[in-house]
Subunit: 310 residues, 2 copies
């Protein structure tokens, strides 16, 4: 049986430091943490979670609550969950998944929540343990991408590539992220003194394809789509009408998980940085747990250049 002393000796650190890496990783520098963790893995030292929990009055368990319906689950949740698991594991925490409005605090130190609606905010504000949501809401610690900057970057790219009219293909939902994506387009167009054209549809490639075929797109059109599904439909409308992409029409989507790669031409898209989102969510939650004051984080997304822009 490998002991804590064995780990300390091999890692050339004190037993106190090993204990801190295990029990309070947030108090140790990333360098030392990585080194000690490597030795722990090499020697096969098993951390006794129950003993550690008892000693620290913590459960070392975080619950991720997904409030979306199963039909609305986007495939990128698989990646978000795995990244969250990886980051929490590195800090010695486990991740529990819940799929209902279950804010029972037994055995958990904090909540990470996705799919929050307005009706949930009061419940969240009254919880006795820290909460970080994936999304945006004043008064609750949140991590999100900066959706406004995302579509702003998309619109600016199409403007720079001298498409004549640029339209926005939005989702017909009353959600903050959708409004922000619309605003990013609007701001870039206003700055460029170009006329604004906004359409709102169901988030479905077949719907956007039919709609754009009905619109009879002109050459030199740019399309900023609020999702990759909408962008995929736009690409198919162009193919149907014999318009060449990106020569005649430029298209930029949003999300950058799976869908953009499955298109006939890989989509240029605003990429959700899921690993960075997972890291920020965990860091904010652990900071709150250590009693620090934290602020919501909005990550600036980047364009992933594909074959639907020049």
């Amino acid at each position: 049986m490998v002991s804590l002393s064995d780990v300390a000796r091999s890692a050339h650190v004190s037993k106190m430091t090993v204990s801190r890496v295990i029990n309070h990783p947030e108090q140790v520098s990333l360098e030392i943490r990585t080194e000690v963790q490597q030795v722990i893995n090499q020697l096969g030292y098993v951390q006794n979670r129950a003993g550690r929990a008892l000693a620290n009055h913590r459960h070392y368990n975080i619950a991720f609550i997904l409030l979306d319906n199963v039909d609305e689950i986007e495939p990128y949740y698989a990646h978000l969950l795995i990244h969250l698991t990886d980051v929490l594991q590195a800090y010695g925490y486990t991740l529990e998944i819940r799929h209902e409005h279950n804010f029972d605090v037994t055995n958990v130190d904090g909540f990470l929540i996705s799919g929050v609606r307005h009706s949930d905010y009061n419940a969240l504000r009254n919880l006795s343990i820290p909460v970080v949501i994936y999304g945006s809401e004043p008064g609750i610690t949140a991590v999100d991408i900066d959706n406004t900057i995302g579509t702003q970057l998309a619109t600016e790219l199409l403007l720079k590539q001298s498409y004549q009219q640029i339209l926005f293909l939005g989702m017909d939902v009353d959600e903050a992220f959708e409004k922000n994506r619309e605003n990013g387009y609007r701001q870039a167009m206003q700055t460029a003194k170009k006329p604004i054209q906004i359409y709102k549809l169901a988030n479905d490639g077949h719907v956007s394809r039919e709609f754009l075929i009905g619109l009879s797109l002109m050459p030199k059109t740019g399309i900023v789509a609020a999702t990759d599904r909408l962008a995929l439909g736009a690409l198919r409308a162009c193919i149907y009408q014999g318009l060449s992409v990106p020569h005649d029409v430029g298209i930029v989507g949003f999300d950058g998980i799976y869908v953009h790669q499955l298109a006939e031409q890989s989509l240029t898209t605003v990429k959700q940085p899921l690993k960075a989102i997972a890291q920020q969510m965990v860091h904010l939650l652990l900071d709150e747990l250590s009693g620090k004051t934290v602020q919501s984080v909005y990550i600036v997304p980047e364009l992933l250049i594909g074959e639907t822009t020049k």
Copy 2:
């Protein structure tokens, strides 16, 4: 504070029955369980997990271990995880996710494991708590779809629709599920006394598109693809070569999550029944926990008819 007695009174059952629904749900009929659970939810009775765990020598926590790399995560894992969470929640268990070879049994009653390789089997056989894997392996309790029947159904459909030559587009990996999918095609073709044509490629739509364009497909060809990604590439090769699908070429994919809907024409495909897989995995694990002898379950998949067959 709502008590156990309050729940018993409202549900018109004994306190013993309420206790059993909470502590040993597997011993109570689905009907009574549903009724009592509804009363528990209505009254807002909070189950004290810590007390229950102490009383029953159980943790009421199951760990799902995903052994795939993050790059290999297929989008359907999001659905599988949510279904597992839902089923376990109904039995009063939590689901913990792990993403490494971490078989630490502290705080868990059993493991559900996906992405198992041959090198893991010895470790799994020596665990002190029950294990159910998603996949197939003699000697370990497993839940999987019957991959052989899946491609057999696909091949028989194409034979019935009188495509002249039917080829199999497989994945170039040395895995049991791939061999079984190949065998299902092979058996159906042997029964029909038709010549066998098997190709093996990387699981990538672009690769299969290029490959099939190089092959110059003839009209009246049927294609059984081992994945929807390969089927998507096949559809695109047909579009490129001016072959009409399903008139000239019939295509059947495999998996039925996301990819088949994103194709130019919705793919006919063998659907992974993820909800049924999740239910079976949990039932087998809970049966093992109650000391029952269990056997691996292979679920017969169904064809989802899309627009790539007649």
